[in-house]
Amino acid sequence: MSLIGARVLRKEDPNLITGRGQFVDDLAPAGMVVMVFVTSTEPHSRIVGIDTSEALALPGVLAVWTAADLDGLPPLGLPGLGRPLLATDVVRFVGEPVAVVVAEDKYLAADAAGLVLVDYESLPAAASLTAALADGAPALHEVLGGNTVFEQPFDDDLAVEFAAAPHTASLHIVNNRCAAVPIEPNACLADWGPSGLTLWATFQAPHHLRNTVATYFGIPQDTTRVVTPDVGGGFGAKINFVPEYFLACALSRLLARPVKYTQTRSECQLLMYHGRAQEQDVDVAFDGDGKLLALRVRVTQDQGAYPDPTGMGLPVLTTAMSAGCYKIPKVAVSWRNVVTNTTPVAAYRGAGRPEASYLIERIIDIVADQTGVDAVEVRRRNYIPADEFPYATHSPLAVYDSGNFAGAMDELLTLFDYDGLKAEQARRRDDASKKLIGIGFSSWLEIAAFGPPGSLEAFGHLASWESVQIRVQPDGSAIIYTGASPHGQGTVTTFAQIAAGELGIPFEKISVRHGDTATIPQGIGTMGSRATAVGGEGVRTASVRVVERAKAIAAHLLEANPSDIVLEGDGFAVNGTPSRTVPWSEVAWKSFRPLEIPPETEPGSLDITVFQQVPNFSFPSGAYCCTVEIDRGTGEIEITGMYLVDDCGTVINPLLAEGQVHGGVAQGIAQALYEGITYDSNGLPQNSTLMDYLIPAASDLPDYTCGRTNTPTPNNTLGAKGIGESGSVGAPPAVVNAVVDALSHLGVKHLDMPITPIAVWNVLKGAQ
């Protein structure tokens, strides 16, 4: 029986909620020692000297390394712009590791780190894009001759179209720098012994890490093992190669002891790569009816101090997706990557696509405001029609697979009374004793299912397929091994659901294993909303092949023709002769016994490995609406409604799909109203702890009203598109559009995120 679409409870949860999960920091092999960093307090300084003598003299301290000890340990990342494992000569952001200490326990290590004295000579810092791009700006990397790492100019800047357009508008957008804040900060444990290297790490792509570590140290992959045990969230920030992994390995080799590194929360805020950090200059041309004629987008991506391969790809994704759900005759894009004296920037839930949906959805509202056409109507007038898919955009990267944007909007408008709310909004504006109301929409679209050949290779991965191995056990249960390496997604549940229906083996008798390069076939990992659409499809493919082989055995046992065998009940039956059956347990048992299987069949044949490919990305989409109330006296913003229509094609498990939407929307609301890492003009981070970097809690978030439309993807037989990042793509523009809408009668056209009460109050005050 198919379990696709069933609200099955997560197999993962009993362990996690009874405290039996196992995370890297729970591991403590005999002889383990602890590594901590001495981090830079300076945004940009020359290192004049480092005195490690006091730290080394502390009993229980085993090693203190600085850049001078990195012989044979080259920088990571882009050739020529690589990031040294420890700052070498110059520090380039606050938090950059300058030295590393290993001691018998974490308390000694912390004390010793405090005894390392670093002598700095300050250099001028460029901690913002504006500062980094200014004339005479301090250069971070001499080889660059400036701070721009890469620039993609416009092919055609559409000057002609804009000159001829009846109306135009422009907007400068700051997409705020966010921290991923996974509940588990970065952690690893390296044990380099005579039989090889094992690295436990909280990471999203274990094989990717294994292969990279082996190459880095010039050791064979077969004796290099990476284990990702339970991983407490990643959100994209755990697919970057950061120095701690390599230093822990090198120090374990040196000391012949297991070496553990566990980031503190405050370190995590500064060391774990940030996301977003983009500025955009957007111009739009449109007619009096709100029809879009041309769009011009220039993206400036803050890379932080060292450009990361993923970070370099962010503006590529943003510019590919800039036109959103809309049919725009002319689209021109350009981007540049710029280094600054800040924490490096890489993937964070949505990675480049939230920045795109935000810019186009803000622009649509500006067109609505300028033409006087209703915001929903402007969207409808510009949607790509449902019968025009596949739809080739301005970008070769983005050929939209399927979608029904008007359908999602129709569904959204059934979830609440839009006209009634608009009337109430108008009444409230005239009654100063009442709170203001704002209504904001977003019709969003994103890229998921990172899987077509070439897509992940561009980010340094081996390939873009995903591996799935199914092994039927002698008792008729099955184990699925997959290279998709979940960290909270529920893959163990959804993969078992997909397999159960195809295999005819009960859900309870299917286990899913992942996260260990010693037992799992070479895999890729979980990112880019790919696990279900690529790996899940692999589960289906492998299941079909297993069943085909099982049928041959069943046919042999039932003395029937394989083509007459069907899955039925707890096993197999001869089509049309329901009394002739054999249970799965018997087929499985006998599949291992040479004397009981067809002579041409090998024992153990119910073991299939696939490397699942998909032909294209999928493009999940949806329509969201946020309603807010604004307190005129304090500027407080309260979200009163969050209406969410998601279209991710086929839903494997609505419970988990909604969970992904809830979490993504929470992060989207967080970006819109709460979060944003800021630096002062000297490059000092202003909110690097959770005391001042505000992540909203459940008590700060509204109830969500969820709807759904279903436009399956043609790229896999499941029809599933991926939903991991949708909420964080769709929510920010809806929230910001709502706040701007609430204040639009005061002449407000745009407010940058996070929109705080004081920002709103400044508007209200100015209006009085």
């Binding site: 308390y107 004390d111 006296g633 304090t634 008590s699 109050w761």
Partner: protein, 274 residues
Amino acid sequence: MIPASFDYLEASSVDHAIALFAEHGDAKFLAGGHSLVPMMKLRLVSPSVLIDIGRLAELSYIDDRGDHVAVGALTRHRELEDSSLLAEQIGLLAHVAGQVGDPQVRNRGTIGGSLVHGDPAADLPAASLALRASMVITGAAGQRVVPAVDFFVNFLETAVGDGELLTEIRFPKRTGTRWAYQKFNRRAMDYAIVAVAVQLGDNPGIALVNMGPTPHFAVAASAALAAGAPASKIADAVLEGTGAWDDSNATREYREHLARELTTRALAKAGYTS
């Protein structure tokens, strides 16, 4: 995030705690630990010895003493929040205790710890000021009683001297039981950006959170309130003597606006009519 090393001692009585302190000098009393431990983890303070008073049952009580309610310093925020005696007699205190942090914090944090820590951003100090509480301080030399207005001396500094314990807080009962607390913050679990506590009735009081280096008793506004001035006049007076500052959440100007606005709202909520 890892504190410097320290010794841990457990006190078995108030006298024992005071004696331990006299013996060890560079020590800190540990109550709920919810202000002290974070500061130690950030290495802002590094005492050599922690003297745990957290299990002194003798300091955990809420007693009706006729003209006042006496609260032991070790009483947890959660116990204040749930007390029916307080709900009836000193409603502002019970309500404000329920506005502190989140349930985990309220289950550990103590009223004594909150008052002695003396954070201008904390809730209970302001409530104590508005309620015109008095603080019983016990030391090697015996006991003294300090009115709340004299208790908060400087930024994170109170009248409790080194080696002394705050043992009891006395809240006078009053004829009027109307009150209001207006706390403004960005997240439900946070400290206030600004808050205003208003207690009406005989001997009324208004106190402000986060409007200067100490928990702030609004002298002029309280006098105006006692004199029955119009609400707008009270709100105008509320900034007198404050010293708000700029930080990542608010500017001084915004804080001052909030203080006036929240005072107006608190007076209305409490049902104040001049």
